[in-house]
């Protein structure tokens, strides 16, 4: 009995913490359905307002909104797909041929993502300007490819290490070429890893703002949407921010909901697998 009583308390605590963290998100979501006055009124109105869809309708109606929104998808999905191809092949190499310094290289790649973004944004910007890549779509796409590779590589290498070398060897002996081995024998077995890596990086790229703002500029247009929208008539347009947040948060939320089990295997880097 004591354990069950404790367990209930524990669950209650977890719920409270979760709600505390979710409250701001909920607040901004609710804000999307309020008028500007209701949004900033005091005391705050959690439920006592009549919901309106005007804000959202207004965002949709904005000039170029759909092309901006599409650009978000193109950038995220495009860069993640390229990153997956590159990192799958790299992970195969690291996992099977184990070139000298594999561990160090793997660490080095991940360390790219350990550095806080504001620390590198200026050097990257200077580099991009020097190469003439700043404010280009390709430059931005490649930046996100680079941004996605380390994590994908780590996840995929974990999964590939879990696929016994005997699969490769059996296929080779049975008359398959190396490419056949990579794409027809090994690839199908790491599909969960590919999905996990894709989802993780889609979310990362989708959420990335700073580099897009600094490097992409008008070329990718997403920050422009924000910059133009946030200031309206000398004050901050909170209704706009709330509606846009809602619209932009929904895709990752749906993705996470649909692929949550892959996110879990992704977080363990796929390493918890026995030899087959």
């Amino acid at each position: 009995m004591a354990t069950s009583w404790r367990q209930h308390l524990y669950h209650l605590l977890l719920w409270l913490i979760a709600l505390a963290f979710f409250a701001p998100v909920l607040w901004i979501f609710l804000g999307a359905f309020k008028t500007a006055g209701q949004l900033v009124s005091w005391p705050p109105r959690w439920v006592t307002f009549s919901p309106t869809f005007d804000n959202i309708r207004e965002v949709f109606a904005r000039e170029n909104f759909w092309s901006y929104f599409r650009m978000s998808f193109v950038l995220s999905i495009g860069s993640v797909l390229i990153a997956l191809v590159v990192s799958f092949l790299a992970a195969y190499c690291f996992s099977r041929y184990k070139p000298t310094g594999t561990n160090f290289l793997m660490f080095l790649l991940l360390s790219v993502r350990m550095v806080p973004a504001p620390a590198v944004v200026v050097p990257v910007f200077l580099m991009y300007t020097a190469f003439g890549w700043a404010r280009t779509f390709t430059g931005m796409l490649l930046f996100y490819v680079m941004f996605s590779i380390p994590f994908s590589l780590w996840i995929l290498k974990g999964f590939l290490d879990g696929v016994s070398l005997r699969y490769d060897e059996t296929a080779l002996v049975n008359g398959g070429s190396r490419l056949h081995v990579i794409f027809r024998v090994v690839l199908p077995q790491v599909k969960p890893g590919l999905v996990a890596a894709a989802i993780f990086n889609l979310i990362f790229v989708w959420n990335e703002f700073l580099f897009n703002y600094v490097l992409g500029g008008e070329a990718t247009m997403i920050p422009v949407l924000l910059a133009v929208g946030v200031n309206s008539g000398g004050s901050v347009d909170w209704s706009f921010i709330a509606s846009l947040s809602l619209i932009y948060t929904l895709p990752p939320i749906i993705a996470i909901f649909l692929f949550q089990k892959y996110l879990l295997v992704g977080m363990t880097f796929g390493t918890v697998r026995g030899e087959v």
Binding site: R166, L172, V173, N174, G175, G176, V185, P188
Partner: protein
């Protein structure tokens, strides 16, 4: 189809020599078992034959074709590994058919080949099942079926039944025996399990420390091990060994030497010793060949029987008895039939006899000496270890 020859094959991993100048031929259309303890180089040898490892030196030939530098896929071989390699998410039949798809075969022919091997391995009941529904033993059968269905000229097995449970092991062993009897390919089968090798092999190549110590038919290998290693490694338990000093010839003019040991009831004459053999020899006998009788029933006591002490007695596979014996200051093992074992006391004095035709002599280098043993003063010599 094709025999496999390796010539002067050498493989080094950093500072370990896995294969030490191996020259050997795997007979065409026969099952050759590579048998040896872990780390003796048997798997390395097989992987070089498959093309999965490059030798440090030496050549591999399939028939007349030199294949040393061919990639595995161009060697036309089939291989089965220790862990069943099967593809998830597709049925058993699809698993077997998969490698056939890259060959120029008609759909009917593919189906026919699949059906053949399915029948051959008794997989009929699981053809349409998904791989995940099968146990390890059946999965391994599928892996074997896939290797066989391609009809390669050589099939390599790398300890294929090590990782299945005991029940499935027996079943697989039987299936393999049936299969290998029907196949005409040259088959190399790596194992560290001697009963497996004894059951399946036409000939066994015994490996030790990167070399092939001996290659012979299973029975011959068991009866006439070429060196101490063969005597020790084969058999369960392995041979008993005793060191002995040879005495000078007995002066009858027939040459040779004499062997006097507390293990034999009478001095022995050793004939046919190769020139240059040392005076120190090792006497070896398989535990199952040692004759043991209760000390009381001394009737029918052989002339060579000696008195010994039974230290312990335990029952073993097939109700045979495993005995710990002591004669003089030497302790050794014996294995006797159920009836004999039951008649023995739990411990105490017994009569022990080492039949001369079962005794083998080994030189100081561990090689077997082709010598004959006879009771001194008796007539016809008995060749050591002829049974």
């Amino acid at each position: 189809m094709a025999d496999i020859r390796v010539e002067g094959l050498r493989k080094e991993f950093k500072d370990v020599v896995a294969l030490d100048d191996v020259t050997f031929a795997f007979a065409d259309s026969q099952v050759t078992c590579l048998l040896g303890p872990s780390g003796c180089g048997k798997t390395t040898l097989m992987r070089i034959i498959a093309g999965l490892e490059r030798p440090t030196g030496g050549e591999v030939y399939f028939g007349d074709q030199r294949v040393t530098h061919l990639p595995p896929r161009k060697r036309n071989i089939g291989m089965v590994f220790q862990y069943p390699v099967v593809y998830r998410g597709i049925s058993v039949a699809e698993n077997i058919e998969l490698p056939l798809k890259s060959e120029k075969l008609s759909k009917q022919e593919r189906a026919q080949r699949v059906e053949e091997v399915v029948h051959l391995l008794g997989l009929g009941a699981s053809v349409d099942k998904d791989i995940t529904q099968l146990d390890n033993g059946t999965r391994q059968k599928v892996a074997v079926a896939r290797a066989v269905a391609r009809q390669p000229r050589i099939i390599l097995f790398d300890e294929p039944i090590t990782n299945v449970d005991a029940e499935a092991k027996l079943q697989l062993k039987r299936a393999f025996k049936e299969l290998t009897r029907r196949l005409e390919q040259t088959i190399v089968y790596v194992t560290h399990d001697q009963t497996e090798a004894m059951t399946l092999a036409d000939q066994i190549a015994l490996m030790n420390e990167g070399r092939i110590a001996q290659c012979d038919a299973p029975r011959a290998l068991y009866n006439r091990p070429a060196d101490r290693f063969g005597g020790w490694f084969l058999g369960n338990p392995g041979m008993d060994f005793f060191d002995a000093e040879l005495g000078p010839g007995d002066g009858t003019g027939r040459g040779g030497a004499t062997l006097a040991s507390p293990l034999f009831g009478a001095p022995l004459r050793v004939g046919g010793l190769p020139p240059g053999a040392g005076r120190t020899v090792t006497v070896g006998i398989r535990p199952e060949h040692v004759r043991v009788a209760p000390a009381a029933g001394a009737d029918g006591r052989g002339p060579l029987a000696v008195e010994g002490e039974l230290l312990r007695k335990s029952i073993s596979i097939g109700r045979q008895y495993l005995l710990g014996l002591r004669v003089g200051d030497r302790t050794f093992k014996a294995k006797v039939a159920p009836a004999v074992g039951e008649a023995l006391p739990a411990s105490g004095p017994v009569l022990v006899e080492l039949p001369l035709n079962r005794v083998a002599l080994f030189g100081t280098d561990g090689r077997r000496l082709d010598a004959t043993l006879t009771p001194a003063g008796a007539g016809l010599p008995v060749a050591a270890g002829t049974a």
